[in-house]
Symmetry: C2
Subunit: 462 residues, 2 copies
């Protein structure tokens, strides 16, 4: 691992800029901020700073910009493409201390938060007001990380991605300038949209120090169903038909038999070890959901489902959902000594069954352990590929499967990353996906961060 | 009006670049492209060109950029803030000939269109597939204009604005470069978001020559209701409560008694001449809508409505909606010899009753003819102020009311323009609304259009 590269004088100066205890060059802190949840090699920062307010962030960035010191923002380190790994070392700004909910304006469906707020904690608090923040990436992600990655998840099929929920942002730019942008009105046609420049830019254009989020009303009624299929291709076809039916599922997830086996083993839920589609419905009344459930069953049966379990209650459904969210960790536990690469691509709905079939064939022909987990309603596939850490040949195979999956997704008009972001892992596909647009992305980067101090080595291919 | 200012040689060269009939310096054509639907003074372009494809647009922009000739895109001229008035003359590119629906991929909920497609025509065509493009600005706007202004309208409260429906864009930049950006997947976290830079930038960063739009499923069932109130303040309070009730109205419009009187006179609909709130509900079944309607009635009655007419059928509701859409024109007809300034602001929902009260008081104390039309569910108010064209004192009053309304909206955290864009009329509020963000908007403008040829004189204050 790289050792300290910043001039020791800089270290001293930075240390003097923040209160005691909010600054560390200790090995354990550097190690904790050297890697995310991906397979990308760790890289230690030179120093970790836990800022307490926007002014502190501004002062640090001014200093770093003047001295060309890399600065990488840090949420909870739950990224899957190496997004926050400080590959050029320098400063990591860990926002975990800026974790206050500043103002909840329930009547406006809005909340002002600091970037270090963990979204599950936020939703816990919002529940009392009958509201929630829908983007649901699963891990204990922070709002700052969710915004930086334009994160989404199981509820995106109905409720949208992070980009759909940001009303205002306060951002500290590379030069230390503090910019507030956006409005508290629910719509606007005023000027050039800066919000969407920052959302999804992975901390390469500026660091979010405050956000006003739009909130959604919690559904009055929830109902869940599990549809079981003979093979993933048939299940994928059903997903496509459900989306075309106008039923507006709140979640529509596909898990392959390997996933179900893991869930059964860890949670004893006794699910059929077959491709299963989980469907969540939200509605204003029980009778309405009962009606919708009948239509859903009809669509699933017409699409060849072998079993349909409707009407799962809140508790049962909650257990299932918890298992779904923890599936990633279960898979890790299932394969000690192994690494897992999660291929994340999204394609238009018509291409979805085809991509699922491709994923299945790749797994079969490679003879690898693998799992298909999919935010199916969005055509978003996560192919989890498992390989022993000390088996370079297996990893070569894994990398080449991943590469073919991404190229296939791009070929059918999809994207190299549905929700995990570009980070390190998808840089190489940016030219293929964005063509000439990539040059303009680079120019925007240059405009906002001419000294390339913000999260260097990410998004943009070298 | 300004006369030709381009070197006659440029005129000849431009003429040679496009087929006969797609180029005009004729007075009537220049006049038709000198003004929109606003009160801003007209200004003739030097030449109007009707491009047929992206390559033609690219060649014209290359030429214009090399010779510093202003270029303003033109949809249908239905803007309300002077957005497409070519205030520096030069070239107007009228996209009405690029009006083809290129590919309808109903199964992906997507359509590829050229910018000159009129959205009503598009929706007419989409209806056969059970789909629609929800942003509904009312006038016969083109898709290009809708994207340029991030337009929205009556259905935005449930379905969102133009920015929520653009998946891919092909844009010709000031230097003639053709850039395609976006994906056909329903979500993505890939790279810097260029789409939202162009949406709402009013043709100042580039000209859209093709767009892939997301589509929504037409509702299975529609129901309408009219709630009548004693005064607009009480009506506004009801709007607020409806939004908090979780009923998810598909449209929630407030019209004041002056509007209702005009509609009754022109259409004989016999509505109560009082503040009325129109609510449209979308659902998957009749029984569900009947249920929702009962809750709606309860909320309205608890909020002090004096009359509630539920269950308006498709035909009756259709007539009402047609009248609502044509209200602007009816108001114009009602006041021959007069000009109308439409104040367009949007505020957070909690501030909505207060802003409605302010609008009412302004009208009362000025003793002017005026109309309050409001996309209430979005806190978006249009205050239509009427003044005789030849009465400068009336116009002074109108301008000062408009100014106070905008400042009030900004004061409560709202926006200077809910949906009409900045154009000429709202330039002076950009510094107050965006603070330091405005400097970054200007720098982005400079990056994409260093010679300031694209729609000069708009958005950015001088």
């Amino acid at each position: 691992m790289p050792t300290l590269r910043i001039d020791p004088l800089h270290i001293e100066n930075l240390k003097a800029m923040v209160p005691t205890g909010h600054f560390s060059t200790g090995s354990s802190h550097l190690d904790l901020h050297a890697k995310d949840q991906s397979q990308h090699p760790p890289c230690r920062p030179d120093v970790v700073i836990w800022p307490m307010d926007r002014e502190e962030v501004s002062r640090i960035l001014q200093y770093a910009n003047a001295h060309r010191i890399p600065v990488t923002g840090w949420g909870s380190g739950s990224s899957l493409e190496g997004n926050p790994i400080p590959v050029c070392s320098g400063i990591v700004l860990d926002f975990s201390q800026m974790n206050r909910v500043l103002a909840l304006r329930a009547e406006d469906f809005q909340v002002d938060v600091q970037p270090g707020v963990v979204y599950q904690d936020l939703n816990q608090q919002l529940r009392h007001e009958g509201l929630f923040f829908p983007p649901d990436p699963g891990a204990r992600a922070t709002i700052g990380g969710i915004i930086a990655n334009n994160a989404s998840g199981t509820k995106t099929v109905r409720y949208g991605s992070a980009k759909d929920y940001v009303r205002r942002l306060t951002v500290v730019l590379a030069n230390g300038e503090i910019v507030e942008t956006g409005t508290r009105a629910s719509k606007s046609s005023s000027g050039i949209d800066l919000i969407h420049l920052f959302v999804g830019s992975e901390g390469t254009l500026g660091l979010v120090v405050e956000a006003t989020l739009r909130l959604a009303a919690l559904p009055v009624e929830i109902a869940g169903a599990i549809a079981t299929f003979a093979d993933v291709e048939t299940a994928a076809g059903a997903v496509f038909r459900i989306m075309r039916s106008g039923l507006e599922p709140a979640a529509l997830e596909l898990l392959d038999p390997a996933c179900i086996a893991v869930i059964n083993r860890e949670r004893g839920l006794g699910l059929s070890v077959a491709p299963n589609v989980f469907v969540e419905l939200h509605g204003t009344s029980r009778s309405h959901l009962d009606e919708t459930m009948l239509v859903l069953e009809e669509v699933c049966r017409e699409s060849g489902c072998s079993d349909f379990r409707p009407g799962l209650g809140r508790q049962q459904w909650g257990e299932l959902w918890k298992a779904r969210h923890e599936l990633g960790e279960m898979i890790v536990r299932r394969h000690p000594g192994c690494g897992i690469l999660v291929v994340d691509v999204a394609v238009p709905l018509t291409a979805y069954p085809q991509l699922i079939a491709t994923a299945r064939q790749e797994l079969d022909s490679a003879g690898l352990d693998g799992y298909i987990i999919s935010h199916a309603g969005n055509g978003n596939i996560h192919l989890n590929l498992v390989g022993p850490r000390d088996d370079p040949q297996a990893w070569e195979t894994i990398e080449s499967i991943s590469n073919r999956m991404v190229l296939k997704a791009l070929e059918v008009g999809g994207t190299a990353t549905g929700e995990h972001g570009v980070g390190i892992g998808k840089k190489k596909y940016m030219a293929a996906e964005h063509g000439r647009g990539l040059q303009w992305m680079k120019q925007i980067k240059h405009l906002f961060d001419p000294n390339q101090i913000l999260n260097p080595g990410k998004i943009f291919p070298d």
